[in-house]
């Protein structure tokens, strides 16, 4: 079997009131892994992370890195960050997401990950989110179910933000130091 290495399978940005703000999916690449990721399935996965955020939140006094949230099977694992505004970032890692480009990279699928491997990706996402907040046309209250009282879509529509999330999702690999 060809050596595989981890890649990001999905990135979820979840609002303060646990509403999904943005979900990006990244298909696995390489022969044998062609089938596209199911949006609904990943919505369920990201949604299930909220349980863990909620459970850990009361005891989490410092820091925003929630580390590994849970691993569903050998391939899929989820990591989370909580931003100051209550926005949650979740990265779903597929341990066999892409073909290993080098024998070195192939080892990571077997060796696994450490929490700090995800930090650059989270930092890049946080930066992207902060620059989204600095955009005067983005009103956070428009994306808050309590403030809008139903109706309009709460998803982030900023193309720049979405592009940036896409870029982070594709650029990350274990051991990267900056994205």
């Amino acid at each position: 079997m060809e050596a595989r290495s981890p890649s990001i399978a999905a990135i979820g940005v979840i609002g303060r009131h646990n509403n999904p703000l943005h979900i990006s999916l990244f298909d696995a690449t390489g022969p044998g892994y062609e089938h596209a990721r199911d949006k609904l399935e990943y919505s369920f996965m990201l949604n299930s992370c909220l349980d863990i955020f909620e459970a850990r939140m009361p005891n989490k006094t410092i820091g925003h890195d929630f580390g590994l949230l849970h691993a569903l099977d050998e391939r899929i694992a989820m990591y989370g960050w909580l931003l100051n505004t209550g926005v949650k970032l979740v990265i779903v890692v597929d341990m066999e997401g892409r073909p290993a480009l080098s024998p070195e990279a192939g080892k990571t699928a077997i060796l696994g990950l450490r929490n700090s491997d995800l930090t650059p990706a989270f930092q890049a996402l946080q930066t992207a989110y902060i620059s989204l907040l600095r955009n005067p046309f983005y009103v956070p209250d428009d994306h808050d179910p309590r403030a809008t009282k139903g109706g309009a879509s709460l998803q982030i529509a900023s193309p720049r933000f979405i592009k940036e999330v896409e870029r982070v999702g594709k650029a990350w690999y274990p051991g990267t130091t900056a994205i």
């Binding site: 646990n18 609904l40 349980d51 459970a55 691993a71 569903l72 990950l113 009282k149 139903g150 109706g151």
Partner: protein, 1217 residues
């Protein structure tokens, strides 16, 4: 776990037989029958069983050391170092041990020589593959019977209990015990098993009370040669439970090494056999290969290690056994896969992997267990792919599901502390604990900084159950794909196709394809039961750990599967609680929630649940989709059309209990209003259905306000359909007179993303706060009625209203935040109050006259009282009063004022002398003639600022007093009280500077003596003010006053102190009212004994063009003074008189020095400074120096036409000569 033979998965605890304490039914284990039990050794004991409470209690305590029901971890089952947990098996007096060796072949060797050649004459265990009677004869590896034999039938220890009594003194009892013990030991020895033996003698008396017992015991001991420490125990009567427990502990502690020894012996025996090479001497085709034998030995050693609770050792043996099975010449590789032996080996291998996991979890190696789990799965998949029929079969899915479930079950049995409830833990640990609840931390030795696959952190049970569920679901999926020809029972299928099946399907521990997915519904394997069990268990586990969303997800997954197989009503039962509690609704996970709704809607349609169908359609529209069957139909058409229920269906929702595709918002345009006045409010209904869905027609919208006002907007189809996105419906005409109820009609057909804004005008009868109470959307027709009620104001509040501006709808933000409430104020007072004659500026001391006017605009006559109140930052009280006589204490009764009549009242304010600001409040309180009890109040507030109209400055200068001076040598007339000091004349110039904004007229100015020092007199000369003078803003006016001071005594040489004030009478221009202001002049100190020089214009000879200047040198002092007088020459004039001379002045004398000046004709232009026509100024300089003090005396102007300039000294005005 249930799929595997019970003994394989049972936890191994050392087996202890308790003989003589009665039997207890053992419901936990089903007895596994060992074949040919009768051939085993039968152990019979003749002594009676011990009876009574004591025996029962003792048995209870012994069973307390039974570990078979305890959790499988090292804390619950203490290892070999602590107190072992046993499998306690109370038996009767008689039991049978299984045969140790298989019976020899029933046929005599000589009768069948062929067979005997193949057989070894050596006898083997009846369970060995070498024994023909064995289930695994001739080439099987292992049988669960072997494990069962050690778990259930062959004890490591046999404890026999006998009772003796002091009543019974006969030796027969004693002897019987001795015989029994010896019989048991003989029988055990004969059986070949090395079971340890101990006997316990229960006595009803202690040795202290019956010393003869001592002899009896020693007799037994001698007869049985049992060791007192490890073989023979004496139990005196015991009263308390604790004593019995202690006795049991003291009984088992010395026996524990024996038990361990027993299993160690077995291990040793095993190892020896393995070293000998097992039974390889056997020849024959179907015999067990060497690797097979090795596996056998490893397994046995592993099991024995487990009996000793040495889990690490056991794990090593099991792992080795797995390696042996998988090795290239191992059974799994060497045996053909169609052979049942291959499946048997697979099963054994599963069990070994299972036991490996169990050992790891027992020692708390969570990461190790996860790794083993993952590795074994990969290994089996590889094996099945290579040697079996592949992993793409329902059989392999079933195995995967089972393998995941095993992990879940093991975790349940192991009850790892990390996954236990957090309630017992200290709060300090809780942070870490929360972390642990999802997954166990990494094993010791693996640092967090190392890379680890996330899955290697062992997650809790629910995750494994979830995996099992997913595999079971995959299995169901594959089962449903089984082609029809394979689904017929083999009996009715052609043999060829049946033969094919074995190559196509992996039936390892699963039914054949015809049962996996049978034609008949009730037969065969029930996938749904398995799925439900796994999913519900996982959901329960998730819920316990607070993972509600995961629990809901797996329930939803289960419902999908149930619905797929047609169990719609069952799926509804699963889904309904999820639907009620789902967080997805409030948190707007629309795609997730709509997948639930679709399924629910589908199920509701199938089971014809009209209410649910209605509700799900409503919610589906709200999440931006619609049921697929709905198509282009309108909501009420769709719901009503396909409804079969005979009676009308009514559903009611509240707030966010259900989502609604139509939202309602409400706002009062104004923050407050008054009783009887109209206030505008806007009610907006907006559709959030997806763009491709059909319009929704609301039957009506009902709004209730807290003032028990109800507004009902009913649907009425308008002539032309409304197509704009936002429409403002002006319903103001419909405002009915009836306050409590408003019924209007509007077109309420809402296309997707359309909104209707209804603008309404309401009026309220009572004062108070009116809030929006609820709004209700109603969709109704003949067959159903849907009511969605909003009572939560937050859901309906909107911060803006729409206004029509140039026929364009614009959004206007409301300035108040609580828009769903309006404050209704009481009726306002309709009394107009105004002040007339109010000027911009008022000045100090002024008497301000104002006129108050009241206009009664009420519809009836009123009785009014006006009250005055002054406040401000003044020090002096401001006097304010009504002009009217009737006023008392600032209150003026205005009496009855008829409607539309105005009344006036005068008001006088005495402005204080100081500048200040003050406020005058005029309160008009009145009552209506029709309602004398309710007082209405109108207040008028005016601020008045008082400033100073002008400022005065004061210039003091001496003047010549022409009169004679008193003589120093004259005693005076004693009868004359007139002062006798030197009279000195002074001039006070008062330039008045206007600081008023208006022009004022100075009517009069005079100087008033306020006080004079007692030793002096002061006489004012005649009134100097000539004429009235208009002083406009910033202008100045000068007035001079003269006065004479005189000390009373000539001897008094101190200065005279005079205090004066300037009294100015003024009025505003064009106003006759005079204001008198008294301005105090700063205290004047007038020296009375200083020498001075005054210059006056003397009366010169008239015929000449000369000018005469008189210089008066005055010496009012008591000294003789000498002055040097020098007249400086000037280009402007020539002079006659002393140029320089010294003059001496006696005390109290004065002297006149006269100069005649002849003015030159040509004078410098610069000197011409006087005003036109008045002549010019010359500047004679006379210096007078006190020669004694060397002090220059200043020359003062003593009369008119002479002035003193600061720069140029004395100036004389010369008129044209």
């Amino acid at each position: 776990m249930e799929a595997y033979p019970g003994p394989y998965v049972q936890h191994d605890s050392p087996l202890v037989f308790l003989s003589g304490l009665g039997e207890r039914p053992d419901e936990n284990r089903s007895g596994t029958s060992i074949p040919r039990q009768e051939s085993g050794t039968r152990i019979v004991t003749a002594s009676a069983e011990c009876e009574g409470d004591r025996a029962t209690q003792l048995l209870d305590k012994l069973l307390g050391h039974d570990g078979s029901q305890r959790a499988w971890n090292s804390a619950a089952q203490s290892g070999p170092k602590g107190g072992l947990r046993y499998r306690m098996k109370p038996i009767g007096r008689t039991f049978t041990l299984p045969p140790r060796k298989a019976a020899p072949s029933p046929q005599s060797p000589s009768a069948d020589g062929l067979q005997s050649q193949h057989r070894s004459t050596e006898l083997h265990s009846p369970l060995s593959p070498l024994s023909p009677g064995s289930p695994i004869y001739p080439d099987g590896v292992f049988t669960p019977l072997w494990v069962a034999k050690h778990q259930e039938h062959v004890p490591a220890l046999l404890i026999a209990f006998f009772s003796i009594s002091t009543d019974d003194t006969s030796t027969s009892r004693n002897e019987q015990i001795q015989i029994d013990i010896n019989a048991i030991r003989t029988a055990l020895g004969r059986s070949g098993f090395k079971t340890k033996f101990a006997a316990v003698i229960l006595s009803d008396t202690s040795i202290l009370h019956a010393p003869e017992l001592e002899d009896r015991l020693s007799a037994i001991r001698r007869a049985t040669t049992l060791d007192l420490k490890t073989g023979l125990f004496f139990m005196p009567p015991m009263s308390s439970q604790a004593e019995i427990a202690t006795f049991v502990d003291s009984l088992l502690t010395p026996l524990q090494p024996l038990v361990l020894d027993y299993y160690r012996d077995l291990t040793r025996h095993n190892r020896r056999k393995k070293a000998r090479g097992g039974a390889t001497a056997e020849s024959g085709v179907h015999t067990l290969s060497t690797p097979g034998w090795n596996v056998r030995y490893e397994v046995k050693q592993g099991v024995f290690a487990e009996f000793r609770q040495e889990m690490d050792v056991a794990e090593r043996h099991y792992s080795q056994a797995i390696e042996d099975l998988f090795s290239s010449d191992g059974i799994l590789e060497a045996t053909p896969s169609w052979s049942p032996r291959w499946s048997e080996a697979r099963l054994l291998c599963d069990i070994l992997a299972f036991r490996t996991l169990r050992c790891q979890l027992f020692s708390g190696l969570t990461t190790g267990a996860a790794v083993s789990w993952v590795n074994y799965r990969a290994r089996v998949k590889d094996l099945v792919d290579r040697r079996g029929v592949g992993s793409q079969t329902y059989g392999f899915d079933a195995w995967e599901s089972r393998w995941a479930e095993i992990m879940a079950q093991l975790l349940e049995h192991a009850a790892l502390p990390v996954f236990q409830s957090s309630a017992k833990q200290a709060p300090a640990e809780s942070t870490e604990l929360q972390q642990r609840q999802i997954f166990a931390p990494l094993d010791k030795g693996i640092s967090a900084a190392d890379r680890t696959p996330p899955f290697h952190q062992l997650h809790h049970r629910a995750y494994w159950l979830r995996l099992a569920f997913q595999s079971a679901r995959a299995r169901l999926g594959r089962a449903l794909e089984i082609p029809e020809e394979d689904r017929t029972p083999p009996s009715r299928s052609p043999a060829s196709s049946v033969a094919q099946r074995s190559k196509k399907y992996d039936t390892y521990l699963v039914p054949e394809p015809d049962e996996e997915y049978p034609f008949a519904v009730d037969k065969g394997y029930n996938h749904i039961t398995t799925l439900r069990r796994l999913a519900m268990e996982a959901a329960r586990e998730f819920s316990i750990r607070g993972q509600a969303r995961s629990a809901q997800h797996i329930r939803l997954d289960l419902a999908h599967q149930v619905a797929c197989t047609g169990g719609y009503s069952e799926a509804l039962d699963i889904l309904t609680p999820v639907w009620e509690d789902a967080t997805w609704r409030d948190e707007e996970w629309d795609d997730v929630f709509s997948s639930l709704l679709y399924l629910l809607h589908d199920c509701a349609t199938h089971v014809n649940n009209a209410e649910l169908r209605l509700a799900t359609t409503w919610e589906l529209l709200a999440v931006g989709s619609h049921p697929p069957a709905m198509g282009d139909r309108e909501f009420s058409d769709y719901v009503g059309h396909s409804q079969h229920a005979s009676e009308k269906v009514a559903v009611k929702f509240e707030n966010r209990q259900r989502l609604s595709p139509v939202t309602v918002s409400f706002a009062f345009v104004d923050k407050d209003t008054r009783v009887g006045e109209l206030v505008e409010c806007q009610l907006t209904v907006r559709s959030h259905a997806s763009d491709d869905s059909a319009p929704i027609t609301l039957s009506r919208v009902e709004v209730m306000l807290s003032s028990s006002t109800t507004i009902v907007i009913s649907h009425k189809t308008s002539a032309s359909p409304i197509l704009e996105t936002e429409t403002l419906l002006d319903l103001s005409e419909a405002a009915s007179g009836d306050v409590g109820y408003l019924d209007v009609e509007a077109d309420l057909t809402l296309h997707p993303s359309q909104s209707r804004i209804c603008s309404l005008f309401l009026n309220f009868r009572e004062a108070g706060v009116v809030r929006l109470q609820q709004a209700c959307l109603v969709v109704e027709n003949d067959t159903f009625c849907l009511e969605h009620t909003y009572t939560d104001e937050d859901l309906m509040r909107t911060a803006s209203v729409r206004v029509l501006h140039d026929s364009v709808l614009q959004r206007r933000l409301l300035p108040h935040s609580d828009t769903t409430a309006v404050t209704v104020l009481p009726k306002p007072p309709k009394m107009l109050v105004s002040l007339h004659q109010l000027r911009k500026h008022y000045y100090a001391n002024e008497c301000i006259r104002l006129e108050l006017e009241l206009v009664n605009e009420e519809s009836e006559s009123v009785d009014a009282i006006a009250a005055l109140h002054v406040s401000g930052d003044t020090d002096d009280a401001v006097t304010v009063g009504w002009d009217s006589e009737q006023a008392s204490q600032g209150e003026l009764a205005l009496g009855n004022v008829a409607a539309a009549v105005s009344v006036t009242a005068g008001l006088t304010v005495e402005a204080p002398a100081e500048p200040c600001t003050f406020i005058i409040d005029i309160n008009i309180s009145y009552t209506l003639a029709s309602d004398p009890s309710t007082s209405l109040t109108k207040t008028l507030t005016t601020e008045l600022e008082i400033t100073v109209p002008f400022e005065a400055k004061y210039e003091l200068a001496p003047l010549l007093q022409p009169g004679p001076w008193p003589s120093y040598f004259d005693a005076g007339d004693y009868r004359n009280a007139a002062p006798e000091g030197v009279a000195l004349k002074w001039r006070l110039g008062t330039p008045l500077h206007s600081s008023a904004a208006d022009s004022i007229v100075i009517r009069n100015m005079e100087l008033v003596i306020d006080s004079v020092a007692e030793d002096a007199t002061c006489n004012l000369s005649d009134h100097a003010f000539q004429k009235e003078q208009v002083l406009s803003a910033t202008q100045s006016a000068m007035t001079n006053f003269e006065f004479v001071t005189r000390m009373r005594s000539l001897d008094n040489r101190s200065a005279a102190n005079v205090e004066l004030s300037l009294v100015v009478t003024w009025s505003r221009e064009g106003d006759s009212a005079k204001v008198t202001a008294s301005l105090p002049v700063p205290r004047l100190t007038l020296p009375s004994s200083e020498p001075r020089v005054l210059c006056t214009l003397g009366d010169g000879p008239a015929e000449t063009d000369t000018l005469v200047l008189d210089y008066h040198l005055e010496n009012p002092s008591m000294h003789f003074l000498t002055f040097a007088v020098t007249m400086e020459s000037s280009e402007a004039f020539a002079f006659a008189g002393p140029k320089y001379r010294a003059l001496s002045l006696a005390p109290l004398s004065r002297l006149r020095l006269q100069y005649h000046l002849l003015l030159h004709d040509q004078q410098d232009e610069t000197d011409v400074q006087a005003e036109e026509g008045e002549g010019c100024w010359i500047w004679p300089v006379l210096s007078v120096v006190d020669s004694y003090y060397q002090k220059n005396l200043r020359v003062h102007a003593g009369s008119a036409r002479i002035k003193v300039d600061e720069k140029r000294g004395l100036g004389v005005l010369v008129s044209d000569l």
